[in-house]
Amino acid sequence: MKNVQNQKRANKSLPFFFRDEFRVSVVIILISVALLVTTFTFDIVPPILNRGIQPATFPKALLVLIIVMTLLIYYLATKNPWKVEKKLPRSFFLTLFSFVIFIIVSKTLDFFLAISVLSIFVSYCWGEKRLFYLLLVGIIFPIIVFIFFETILGLRFPPGIITNIYYS
């Protein structure tokens, strides 16, 4: 309890634009405004086909509601600041980076190669240095998953350098 209060106090001592509540609120509002602007580009249905309300009306109402509620949480946070979150460790950013690698490899080379690369990379970054376990998570397990999905569920995976060898 005392720790949370200290964290809150620490957050309050920061300039307002560095506080979590300000940054989070700004991000939500900016995205909502951008989406709200997008709703004005939606096609308008002629009155004869219109069922109740225009297709853009409902999302518009939702976005306005989100903006209003975000302003409200920011206002409440000025009185009762959020607690400061700990800085994110390196392992988090490496895991996040592995997602990017996964997208690139799955798009350009091979879906299963991407899974293997991510599994080995994440396992290694999280502290696994034993070769057997790295092979287990990076090669043996993905092969089991592939066979399971391919044979039992009859799934066809996207083409790639490894998948093509199997399918050919």
Partner: protein
């Protein structure tokens, strides 16, 4: 009598028994592993259910739900980390009791009270779901709209996070449901020229992303965390003295859990917290709570398992999820072409009572598995995260891909994983997003159809008594967190 026979049907089908067996086993494993749970597990298993018939698929999901909710107690007692959020209250007394060398007694009480709570809630489900479904025959589009609004406003009072943050997350979930072609006019919304988005954003990528992938990112921040696991010799059935002390608590919490479960959007987490606090309020020894009270364990565990049957009531009778896991089960029903609601009770009673029977058997099965296998399940927590999570990633990616065979779905899953991580980091619960997504189409569809009926006159909503009742309940649901916090401040 006929319905009772229909309930026993799973017992006479070897296939359903096998599904129940594996569902319960899988649910226990998911419940034991911190970070996973019946919601994530259900979402991961959903694509696999496509190979099963609808009844087997839903039986699998419901058995995972029942067993997973109980499984969280094993980790709560032995390593002071709730395997599922619903087991958080169990930690308060389960772990201190285990520290006193009575882990077997603590787990024995958790197992018995979970089973009693679970069975009690199935009885409630069998009696109340048909009544609620009968009432729902009176509902038109405006009533369904008001009901969905009530379900959404209940998000304000779910256990975790601030009420307004929960409502923002719920509104965001509804917003996601508007992506794609408008179902009434076929006009593109938020597709940004991406063809794959015209069909909308699927439930599976969102739920796997928000639960499994965001948890993977959370675990990446905890890789140096060390759990102190208490050794378990053997699980012990509660003694006569323990039964004497706790039978009232178990029954009370079973009632509370079932009631909380019936409320839309609430679930085991809220039920267990209320069950625990009521157990303390009624106890002759409230000072023992937090120090290893057997009543505390019974109160929390009976309530969270009782919420499973309760949560199935609105899910099956109205198509409104009673909790995050029932949202997954609801998706399972929809994927398999089963439309929940009053017609289901009239047209497919064998299907419904099959589910009820399966839930009853699942509660008995997890008692047996828990009693004889808790020691083995406890060892599962020893699987290191650096091995476990890359494997979960592989299954998540393949499962998400398999539903539509779309790589875009996988990317959407990763996007929601990152989003879910930051939402949780800044105190936004991800559960409302899922419930908003599920209810989104219902809210918009019924609103627009109601406006057609009312010729655009919004005030006509208030001329319908049932709709008006739901709107008043919605206002109460919104005001409740405010009143609760004031009462709490007064107490302080």
């Amino acid at each position: 009598m006929d319905n009772l026979l229909l309930m026993l049907a799973p017992l006479f089908s070897s296939k359903l028994l096998l599904v129940l067996f594996f569902g319960t086993l899988f649910g226990l494993i998911l419940g034991v592993l911190p970070g996973l749970g019946p919601t994530t597990g259900g979402a991961l298993i959903l694509p696999f259910t496509m190979t099963l018939d609808p009844l087997s698929a839903i039986v699998l999901l419901t058995s995972i739900y029942c067993a997973g909710t109980y499984g969280g107690a094993i980790t709560a007692v032995l390593i002071n980390t709730p395997g599922t959020p619903a087991a958080a209250a169990t930690c308060l007394d389960g772990y201190p009791l285990a520290q006193k060398g009575e882990a077997g007694r603590a787990l024995g009480m958790a197992t018995v009270s979970s089973t009693v709570g679970g069975i009690f809630s199935v009885v409630i489900l069998v009696f109340f779901a048909p009544i609620l479904a009968q009432l729902a025959y009176e509902f038109g589009q405006p009533e369904y709209f008001a009901l969905a609004i009530f379900g959404l406003t209940m998000l304000a009072s779910i256990g975790e996070g601030s009420p307004i943050k929960n409502l923002i997350a719920g509104a965001f979930g509804i917003l996601i449901s508007t992506v794609g072609k408008d179902f009434m006019t076929s006009i593109d919304r938020f597709t940004f020229g991406i063809n794959e988005l015209t069909e909308g954003i699927g439930f599976i990528p969102v739920v796997v992303g928000l639960f499994a992938m965001s948890e993977m990112l959370t675990q990446s921040t905890l890789i140096n965390q060390v759990f102190n696991r208490i050794a378990l010799k053997a699980i012990k059935l509660p003694s006569k003295d323990d039964y004497k002390k706790t039978w009232k608590t178990i029954l009370r919490s079973s009632g509370i859990g079932s009631f909380i479960g019936v409320l839309p959007a609430e679930g085991g987490t809220v039920a267990s917290l209320i069950g625990y606090s009521e157990a303390k309020r009624f106890s002759n020894n409230p000072e023992e709570f937090g120090k290893g009270s057997i009543e505390g364990i019974a109160g929390a565990e009976a309530a969270n398992n009782a919420a499973t049957g309760g949560a199935m009531v609105p899910t099956l009778a109205l198509g409104i999820p009673g909790s995050a896991t029932t949202a997954v089960i609801l998706t399972g029903l929809i994927i398999h072409g089963v439309r929940p609601g009053p017609d289901l009770f009239r047209e497919q009673p064998d299907f419904l009572y099959g589910i009820f029977g399966a839930m009853l058997i699942a509660n008995i099965l997890f008692f047996i598995f828990g009693f004889f296998g808790a020691k083995i399940f406890a060892r599962i927590t020893l699987v290191p995260n650096k091995i476990l999570w890359p494997m979960i990633f592989a299954v998540s990616v393949c499962g998400t891909y398999s539903l539509n065979q779309s790589i875009i779905d996988v990317w959407i899953m990763l996007f929601f994983g990152v989003l879910g991580f930051f939402m949780r980091r800044y105190g936004f619960s991800v559960v409302p997003v899922i419930i908003g997504l599920i209810l989104g189409e219902l809210v918009e569809g019924t609103l627009r159809q109601s406006l057609v009926i009312f010729d655009g006159n919004w005030l006509m909503f208030f001329t319908r008594p049932i709709a008006l009742t739901f709107f008043i309940l919605s206002l109460i649901a919104l005001a409740f967190p405010l009143l609760r916090s004031r009462k709490f401040k007064k107490k302080l």
